[in-house]
């Protein structure tokens, strides 16, 4: 299944910005079997990066233990209304996705 767009919300309270992300990804662990007993190959996000106006504010590594359609929430210092927050991930098959929002 092709991954859909991420849903991102970034809100600044003047001193810090809260970012909420809902990713759309199957996150197959590689442990599950399909109806005929064959292993379903692992397919999950391995790296996630969030940038604020080009500066990296969060970098993380995901593994097979993360749930399908992961939800991630974090805060960083700084950020003002109108700034851009961009989030991208790479999965173990090399697929990538980047989405961007304007801070509100």
């Amino acid at each position: 299944m092709a991954a859909g767009p991420m849903r991102i919300r970034a809100a600044s309270n003047g001193t810090e910005t809260e970012v909420k992300i809902l990713m759309s990804h199957d996150m197959e662990t590689g442990q599950r079997k399909d109806a005929s007993g064959n292993l379903i190959p692992a397919h999950h996000i391995t790296e996630i990066t969030a940038t604020h106006n080009g500066r990296v504010v969060l970098a993380g590594q995901f593994g097979p233990a993360v749930a399908k359609n992961p939800y991630l929430q974090f805060k960083f210092k700084g950020g003002a209304k109108g700034d851009k927050v961009s989030v991208s991930w790479v999965d173990n098959k090399g697929e990538k996705r980047t989405d961007e929002v304007v801070v509100s």
């Binding site: 859909g4 849903r7 919300r9 909420k20 809902l22 359609n69 939800y71 929430q73």
Partner: protein, 340 residues
């Protein structure tokens, strides 16, 4: 009141309102309901959109209302599984084409979300308008209800981000509901002549006339995990029996604040002992036991809402609680939430 009784009452009121031929049958009993009385009862919105008030709301405005009034329980993206099952998720573009949620056919859905289940968009509108937000039902305006619904539909990718939902285009949205063809009506719950989902054939010969209970769990085994009923949330259908000493449990009268707490919707987010979404009441009492100003500060926080003291989830303002109830509840919480 059950929906069935409600419908029956509406029907009865309408019947009365139609006038003279009714008066002939029930002469001297009551009076015909006035149109205003009938209108007050007749609040439902039907799948053919009868009863739907005119109005409109955009996805963008819906997002603002959602953040303010809905997100604290349902999550920013309707994804939260903490208090309720998620609103959004589990539906695909193919489902929107076919009108059947494929996850049911394949059997690969770990759980059911609202958008997977609901067949008629009118039901969503009606429910949100009548029952949401939980702490202040019926407080959303008609336009806000359209907006919130548009936001939910956008999260489910049923409508685009620049969509404005209104009474004029809601019928088109119905044609894109993921489970619109998933509702069956050929069964006993829908039609009295339909096939019932249980079967009870009357015994006609050699029937037992008396029933004796052959075995049951002894008290010490029933009691192995304490009183099960005390371990369930006080909202929703009861899921645990009183176990242990039955007569002792019946003799204890519940504290009146428990009733107040249910009435005002507190138990949706707070447990007595432990955290649900917000802190448990006894945790609150423990933290503020040496704080002399706790009574007024807690009252203010309940009335106006509060955030950041117990975690990320904000407490919405509880404007519906009367001053007397608020005072009684705060005193009860600070006294350690006795249950009787």
């Amino acid at each position: 009141m059950s929906r069935l009784t409600e419908l029956a009452l509406v029907a009865a009121l309408m019947f009365g309102a139609t006038g003279s031929h009714a008066a002939g049958r029930y002469e001297g009993i009551g009076r015909a309901a006035t149109p205003a009385e009938v209108k007050a009862w007749d609040i439902d919105v039907r799948p053919d959109f009868k009863g739907l008030p005119a109005g409109s709301g955009s996805v963008d405005h819906g997002m603002e209302v959602w953040e303010a009034k809905c997100a604290s329980c349902h999550g920013t993206f309707g994804e939260s599984n903490e208090v309720f099952t998620p609103i959004v998720g589990g539906t695909t573009k193919e489902d929107i084409e076919t009108g059947r949620v494929g996850a049911y056919i394949r059997g690969d859905a770990p759980q059911r979300t609202t958008l997977m289940k609901v067949a008629t968009v009118s039901t969503l509108w009606d429910y949100i308008h009548r029952a949401m937000p939980w702490n202040a039902p019926k407080s959303l305006s008609v336009d806000d209800t359209y907006a919130v619904l548009a936001y939910i539909l956008n999260l489910g990718e049923i409508v685009p981000a620049d969509f404005v939902l209104s009474d004029r285009n809601i019928a088109d949205v119905q044609k894109r509901m993921p489970n619109r063809n998933g509702m069956t009506t050929r069964h006993g719950l829908w039609d009295v002549k339909g096939k019932p989902d249980v079967k009870n054939v009357a015994c006609m010969k050699d029937c037992r006339t008396d029933i004796t209970i052959g075995s049951s769990l002894p008290d010490y085994a029933r009691d192995a995990h304490g009183d099960l009923s005390a371990q369930n949330r006080t909202v929703g259908p009861v899921r645990g029996q009183h176990t242990g000493n039955a007569t002792a449990a019946a003799a204890i009268k519940p504290h009146p604040a428990l009733e107040l707490m249910k009435k005002n919707g507190c138990s949706g987010c707070h447990g007595i002992d432990s955290k649900v979404l917000g802190p448990g009441f006894r945790e609150v009492a423990k933290r503020y036991k040496d704080d002399k100003g706790a009574e007024s500060s807690l009252s203010a926080r309940i009335r106006k809402g509060s955030s950041g003291n117990w975690g990320d989830v904000a407490m919405p303002a509880q404007s519906q609680v009367s001053d007397a109830d608020l005072g009684a509840l705060v005193k009860w919480i600070l006294s350690g939430s006795p249950e009787n």
